[in-house]
């Protein structure tokens, strides 16, 4: 409660919270808000020559290259993209934190082995894995989320590993050991909180990149399949139209940006509130 109140006092955090709320409401309320079905390819949604239509009163944000209402697609796309951006990315960051912190903390064979495993995973062509999975499984939103988590955790682990190596050498860790703290306690109570800034950077910037990564996977055939909209595939489908129909890139791009940014504002505020060394700042 205290956290929330402190947050509401900061204008940027408030802004972030509002946008996050709006986006979530958009996703939940899509069927009621959307003026059209997101899949409806309207014959008059294209010009006579077959070009998508710019924003107008009829199509608020214009139409796409199949004559579908962009606004409606963005609303429904929020559902997919939030799952990808929050769940998939969240899992990736969580796994990355865990593996990174363990391999940076544990000395000797186990830590080394863990890190080499991460190195192996990192060296491994993730896209190939995605392609094979696409060919072997029936792509669904959750499989996509899983693949993304599988692909992304490695990088987080790498960074966290390096940071942990630095942290472990700090004196207060020695002090904790002298108190008899077990490895788990040192890891979770004393090291993890120091990794919060990194986690927040990845957790929030990662939203944007995973949403786009989902589109790449769509392209490889493992993403959500057409006509189900996602912010990423809306951009990808029409990115070459950025001159002919800029709205097709601009609006989804802006909403991805805004969402990631808002989560970041909230995350930053949260970090500052939780980080005592930053206390007292405005």
């Amino acid at each position: 409660m205290h956290v929330l109140k402190t947050m509401l006092r900061q204008p940027s955090a408030l802004f972030g919270l509002i946008i996050v709320t709006v986006v979530v409401l958009m996703a939940l309320g899509a069927p009621w808000i959307a003026p059209y079905s997101p899949d409806n390819q309207m014959f008059d949604g294209l010009s006579i020559e077959g070009a998508p239509l710019p924003p107008s009163t009829r199509f608020l944000l214009g139409t796409d290259t199949l004559g579908r209402d962009l606004f409606s697609r963005l609303l429904f796309g929020a559902r997919t993209s939030l799952v990808i951006g929050l769940v998939a990315n969240g899992i990736a960051v969580a796994i990355g934190l865990l593996v990174g912190v363990l391999s940076g903390y544990l000395r000797g064979a186990v830590g080394g082995l863990l890190m080499r495993f991460t190195d192996l995973m990192m060296a491994f062509p993730a896209l190939l894995l995605a392609i094979v999975l696409a060919a072997l499984l029936h792509p669904s939103l959750w499989i996509v989320a899983m693949v993304i988590a599988l692909v992304n955790w490695v990088q987080v682990a790498r960074i966290v590993y390096t940071e942990t190596r630095g942290l472990v050498e700090r004196d207060f860790i020695l002090a904790e050991r002298s108190l008899g703290a077990g490895h788990l306690r040192i890891l979770f109570v004393h090291i993890l909180p120091h990794l919060m800034p990194t986690a927040i950077v990845w957790g929030t910037l990662g939203i944007a990149t995973t949403v786009l990564l989902e589109a790449t996977l769509s392209f490889l055939g493992i993403g959500v399949q057409p006509p189900q909209p996602s912010w990423g595939n809306i951009i990808f489908e029409s990115q070459s139209y950025f001159q002919a129909a800029p709205w097709l890139v601009f609006f989804p791009g802006a909403i991805i940006l805004l969402t990631a940014l808002s989560f970041n504002l909230v995350g930053d505020a949260l970090r500052d509130i939780l980080d005592p060394t930053q206390r007292g700042r405005g």
Binding site: E169, R170, D171, F172, L174, A175, E176, R177, S178, L179, G180, A181, G182, H183, R185, V189, H190, P193, H194, D275, P276, T277, Q278, R279, G280, R281
Partner: protein, 558 residues
């Protein structure tokens, strides 16, 4: 108010500093005013947390912007008002006109820069000598602060130095540019008395040679007596009394000042006793039987650096500790004294299995060599450590209350409310308000942090405590309280202390037995009485002689 006529070089007037806390602004300095006359040494004494460090940081313009802010007042250095000075102009003042030695040496040195780089940098910045000259000066400065092997030290990193050595590096750094004003915040707190004497001498020389003025912040009335031309006593963010040294020592007006002077331990005060003074009413159960030792150390050796690295670097650093053997029985205190870098902290860490060692260490009947963290767990319950550098040994992201409760949580003692009660009790024991529990380490003064560490170590009611300079940063009144607390615990619970300190008077007061270390070895060990009243080793004798006497008339450092 002083009535001295000579021109002051630094004038502080009505300085008020506010702290921003979640509960709103709180004033930590109230109308502090004083002058520093050119060529004099002003000692600021006062209880821990009274605002000494904040005052000095304000002068340097180095208050942490996030939490502390000058609310009003002026600080004049010659023509310049430092409070209003631009950042740029302030830069040339810092380091050049005014230099400062900070209280916590570990965190005040950059961990990723070599000692040499940190030293020469300051020299180059303000004196701009060419190439190698700065290095020469740096080496000379290390020599001046009596660091052994100065050439090698220049290439070392802060974590490779002992606490005292770091402090000396800090001093060398501050002195290297021959500042007009030197602010030294507890500069000798972590130093053994011989080095302390040398440093103090150095500061005097500097003062004489360059007409520099010194603000010396210290809790050690012995040092005050040896150094001060004038003294300011602080309490609760105010200067409650200031005047020239003689009048303060001989004619203290404020009750606090009187109390402060009364509490000063004097070397030899306990001569003739075998054991520390009794502080509790309990009648002695201790001497009756001589129980098995709680700590047995035989042939302890510690060498830093990984074997692989040593192999490839080709140079084997000398062992930090070698062939150390001693025993410690319940209810006993072994005082460990010795020069800085002699391996005291290393010994302390090794006997608790915190760094790799070879040899034999038995705690409470359990040989700890090669035990896993899990196997060590029960041992840790009975053996605790208070680290030399309190700031570095506290998790900066953990509230102080949680930090103190940490050992209770780790060992699964008590429920939440019980723990809270215990934390409050411990805080009170070490002279802090229970409401400190919700604050974070960086919001405390150096002495306050040290008390927090003590509270943490006491939380488990261990049988053995390794106390590494654990009262060094405390002002005498608080120190006396804490020492009494430690003695009381010893008496009631049969606690054993491995008491590492440079302060001979404190060691004398606390110990049953004393060991003197030098160069990683124990050069002399015996009962307190034997060592203090009849020292054999030359080094021990030198130590005794160097202890500052808290009487300005009896200055022996010159």
């Amino acid at each position: 108010m002083t009535m001295s006529a000579p021109t002051p070089i630094l004038t502080v007037r009505n300085l008020c500093v506010d702290a921003r806390t979640p509960e709103g602004r709180q004033r930590v300095l109230h109308d502090v005013s004083f002058d520093l006359i050119s060529g004099e040494t002003l000692c600021i004494a006062g209880e821990s947390g009274s605002g000494k460090s904040v005052t000095s940081l304000s002068i340097m313009g180095l208050l942490p912007k996030a939490s502390l802010q000058v609310a009003s007042g002026t600080i004049r250095l010659g023509e310049k008002d430092l409070v209003a000075l631009s950042n740029r102009a302030m830069r040339s003042v810092r380091g050049g006109d005014i230099a400062m030695v900070f209280q916590e040496p570990m965190t005040s040195l950059n961990p990723v820069m070599s000692i040499g780089a940190q030293l020469t940098e300051a020299i180059r910045e303000h004196q701009g000598p060419e190439g190698g000259a700065a290095e020469t000066i740096a080496r000379q400065m290390l020599d001046a602060v009596h660091i052994t092997e100065p050439v090698r030290r220049l290439t070392q990193y802060p974590h490779e130095l002992s606490g005292g050595m770091r402090q000396r590096v800090m001093i060398a750094m501050a002195l290297s540019c021959r500042p007009k004003v030197l602010i030294a915040d507890e500069p000798t707190t972590a130093l053994d008395v011989t080095v302390q004497a040398q440093i103090l001498k150095l500061m005097r020389e500097l003062k004489q040679e360059f007409g520099a003025s010194i603000i010396l912040i210290t809790h050690d009335m012995g040092v005050v007596a040896q150094m001060a031309d004038r003294v300011a006593v602080m309490q609760n963010g105010r200067i409650i009394e200031q005047g020239d040294a003689l009048s303060i020592f001989e004619n203290p007006k404020q009750p606090y000042t009187q109390e402060l002077l009364a509490a000063v331990p004097r070397l030899g005060a306990h001569a003739g006793n075998d054991a520390p003074p009794r502080v509790s009413a309990i009648t002695a159960p201790s001497v009756s039987v001589s129980p098995a030792p709680i700590l047995q150390v035989r042939n302890l050796d510690v060498t830093y650096g990984s074997p692989v690295r040593r192999l490839f670097r080709g140079m084997l650093p000398a062992a930090a500790v070698s062939e150390v053997s001693f025993e410690l029985r319940p209810g006993e205190t072994l005082g460990l004294v010795g020069e800085s870098g002699s391996g005291k902290s290393t010994t302390g860490k090794a006997v608790l299995g915190l760094i790799p060692f070879t040899g034999h260490v038995v705690i409470d009947g359990q040989n700890i060599a090669g035990l896993s963290a899990r196997q060590m767990r029960p041992v840790r319950r009975s053996a605790q450590m208070i680290f030399q550098d309190p700031y570095a040994s506290l998790d900066p992201r953990m509230a102080v209350g949680a930090a103190i409760a940490e050992p209770l949580v780790i060992h699964g003692l008590g429920d939440r409310s019980e723990r809270d009660d215990r934390v409050a009790e411990l805080l009170r024991h070490v002279g802090l308000q229970p409401d400190a529990a919700t604050r974070y380490p960086h919001e405390f003064s150096g002495g306050q942090r040290q008390r927090i560490c003590i509270a943490r170590a006491l939380a488990l009611q261990p049988k053995l405590i390794v106390a590494d300079e654990s009262v060094a940063a405390l002002d005498v009144s608080v120190r006396a309280r804490v020492l009494d607390l430690m003695l009381e615990l010893q008496e009631t619970m049969g606690l054993a202390y491995l008491f590492i300190s440079h302060d001979m008077a404190v060691v004398e007061r606390m110990s049953h037995n004393v060991a003197v270390m030098r160069g990683g070895r124990i050069v002399e060990m015996g009962t307190r009485r034997a060592v203090f009243e009849n020292p054999q080793d030359d080094y021990t004798k030198a130590l005794m002689a160097a202890v500052p006497i808290p009487d300005p008339r009896a200055r022996h450092i010159a």
